[in-house]
Amino acid sequence: MEYFVQQLINGLTLGSIYGLIAIGYTMVYGIIGMINFAHGDIFMIGSFIALATFLVLTTVLGFAFLPVVLLIVLIISMLFTSAWGWTVERIAYRPLRGSFRLAPLITAIGMSIVLQNFVQISQGARVKPLPPQIPGGIVLMTGDTETGAMVVQLSYMQMIIIATTLVLLTGFTLMISRTSLGRAQRACEQDRKMASLLGVNVDRTISLTFVMGAALASVAGLMFLLLYGVIDFYIGFLAGVKAFTAAVLGGIGSLPGAMLGGLLIGLIEVFWSGYFTVEYKDVAAFSILAIVLIFLPSGLLGKPEVEKV
């Protein structure tokens, strides 16, 4: 029971990170119908920017008060990662609008290779370890050596991750449903040509979608860095595929779906490693991807897609 609760907490934390990345996939897919394969690498870029900013603030400039440092890191990494997201869209996807369907996917794969190798060459291939910054937590269930019960702990880090995710998700949902930008996005999602006839700046809206997705991915990158303390240039690939799985599982194009899918994938992965085998945890995620796409292509909360001729 204690083990189960602990795994549940761990799964929800991991799932929040996947969910944040998945929102980027789902928004981009919803609006231009392409898989932004490089999105996982944007997440990786975000965590590298967060690491560099953190190190500059703490070791070079000597800030010591952690909450302020983390807030600055968060803002800077969101800004700079957004610039990356914008540039990727501008270089690799915008010129291909209206081209055949697989063209942007191929450039996305190319972009993913470019980003990975750019970071590998410029920052080195070795993993970057960062010692845990936010230790401690609340003990939910005290352990008992006689019965062999484990200590169940909800660490402050996990609380921060889950809380931030909830805040961001609420904020984004409100943004999509209430603001004019959100309205423009929904309009583009339904019919791009009609939206542009009605005066929506389609290119700008799509760019902003990428910027928003990249900003969320950078938050996920920062959290991944703080939670695991180890990053390298390759983290984006696996995290990206799993987040995409989450987006598909939740129903691609649906914001709450992406979050739900993220949480489910996080839980499945953690429970799979906890109760079955750690080695095959990625197989679990990949199999879910295949199964969902084959049997439930519209996902849990998505609308079935009608193919237009």
Binding site: V60, S99, Q116, I121, G124, P129, V283, L289, P297
Partner: protein
């Protein structure tokens, strides 16, 4: 990559230079922003934890390069009435009739060169013959893989991101068969490996082929990774990360390339040399590649090949014309997988050792990049792309002056994937249908009409 700004033609001359400079300055500033955390700063692992070092020089050089490059592009391509690229990009009527002839001549020339390549290398570079023949084998392997994937991606239009899985199936089939059964050598295992790979192609293909183009791509990626992870963790069967070693070398009519009396050298009455085996390996992969090419060329003229190309252009139209799309896709998948399997067993016998390391997604991406760079569906393009991307970068290593400019630890192979990725993006943006934009229609009504890439509807066809 600018969408050219719309300016009135009369004002263009006065404004274009200022606009170009402004645009280039924006690009340079953007590079500065993007590169700040990656070029100007570098996190290093130091004894007391991570520390940050700065490299302002690299950062500034990168900004200047982007600024200058963008400025030149603006002045000569994007914002001018006479872009310098007009000579080789738009001249449809004048340039395209030359291409089939040129392509065929180039094909014959490359074929002739390839037939005598090992002897050319021995004659021209006796000191480095082993290294160069090895490189030729590597290039030829990628040519074969590229041609195999071209059937799936280029002809049938199914983006397969897990092609390396079939390569792995071929390699492991041969390795396992030959290490478990004494009597199975390379030549008996080769067809078996191909059949097993094709079988796997069918098994994996059957459930996923109902999917739309981009979903299909992601699922094949997932399958490729699943196979790799299984190979990595199934210790009893595959040896896990240790892989399989001691894979037998191919034999020539039952004789192996050894020094003894029953070796090939003794049989042919020539002096023994280690290079003989490499020459032999080269001819095996050359033969396999040529078979792949011939089969593909023939299949393109058969109904199934035409169905593939029709499928690539428009799946819905295809279905409405009564083509069984599932079967068509499955044959493309299985035949592509079969050639991947052949190449895989060749890889296993050449290396003598295989492990899951060799079958990562990166390998799939390299093969896909070769197909994309060659121009989807073009056979000669795959050859050129492999030679340039695999061979060219390998050769850069040996060029002395580059290491004088960039310092002694400059290793161009490090930049290979970066160049691959950039080239993939560049080619797709500049010429989405590949460098060879004219495609021969294989089915013709009365007279041959030329179909340029831009005339093909690029809308909903998957």
């Amino acid at each position: 990559m600018a969408a050219p700004t719309v300016t009135a033609p009369s004002r263009q001359d006065t404004n274009s230079f200022a606009a170009s400079v402004k645009d280039a300055a924006i690009a340079g500033a953007l590079t500065g922003v993007l590169g700040f955390f990656f070029l100007a700063l570098r996190t290093e692992i130091a004894p007391g934890g991570l520390e940050v070092s700065t490299r302002w020089g690299v950062w500034i050089v990168a900004i200047l390069i982007v600024f200058a490059g963008r400025l030149l592009l603006n002045l000569f391509v994007f914002k001018t009435d006479k872009p310098v690229t007009r000579y080789f990009s738009t001249g449809k009527s004048s340039a395209s009739p030359r291409l089939p002839w040129l392509g065929r001549a180039l094909g014959i020339f490359l074929f002739l060169v390839a037939t005598v390549l090992p002897f050319l290398i021995i004659a021209l570079f006796p000191a480095q013959q082993r290294q160069f023949i090895d490189l030729a084998i590597l290039i030829m392997t990628y040519v074969m893989l590229g041609w195999g994937l071209n059937i799936v991606v280029g002809l049938a239009g199914l983006l397969d991101l897990g092609y390396v899985a079939f390569y792995a199936v071929g390699a492991y089939s041969f390795a396992l068969l030959s290490t478990h059964f004494e009597f199975i050598g390379f030549w008996t295992a080769l067809p078996l490996a191909g059949m097993l790979a094709a079988f796997w192609g069918l098994i994996l293909g059957f459930p996923v082929l109902r999917l739309r183009g981009d979903y299909l791509a992601i699922v094949t990626l997932a399958f490729g990774e699943i196979i790799r992870i299984v190979l990595l963790n199934w210790y009893d069967f595959t040896g896990g990360p240790n892989g399989i070693s001691g894979i037998p070398k191919p034999t020539f009519l039952g004789m192996d390339f050894s020094r003894g009396d029953d070796g090939v050298a003794a049989f042919l009455g020539i002096e023994y040399s280690t290079i003989h085996r490499f020459i032999y390996l080269y001819y095996i992969i050359f033969l396999l590649a040529i078979i792949t090419n011939l089969v593909t060329m023939r299949l393109r003229k058969l109904p199934v090949g035409r169905a593939w190309e029709a499928l690539r252009e428009d799946e819905i139209a295809c279905r409405s014309l009564g083509i069984n799309t599932t079967n068509t896709k499955l044959t493309a998948f299985a035949i592509g997988a079969m050639f991947g399997g052949f190449a895989g067993s060749f890889f296993a016998t050449r290396q003598g050792f295989i492990s899951p390391e060799s079958f990562t997604f990166l390998e799939s991406a390299i093969i896909l990049a070769i197909v994309v760079l060659g121009g989807l569906g073009s056979q000669i393009g795959v050859v050129i792309a492999s030679v340039v991307m695999i061979g060219g970068i390998e050769l850069l290593r040996n060029i002395g002056f580059l290491s004088q400019i960039f310092g002694p630890d400059f290793d161009p192979v490090q930049y290979r994937m970066l160049i691959f990725g950039l080239a993939m993006v560049g080619i797709m943006v500049w010429k989405p249908r590949g460098l060879v934009t004219t495609r021969e229609p294989t089915a013709v009504l009365k007279e041959k009409k030329r179909i340029g890439a831009d005339m093909v509807a690029q809308g909903e066809g998957h």
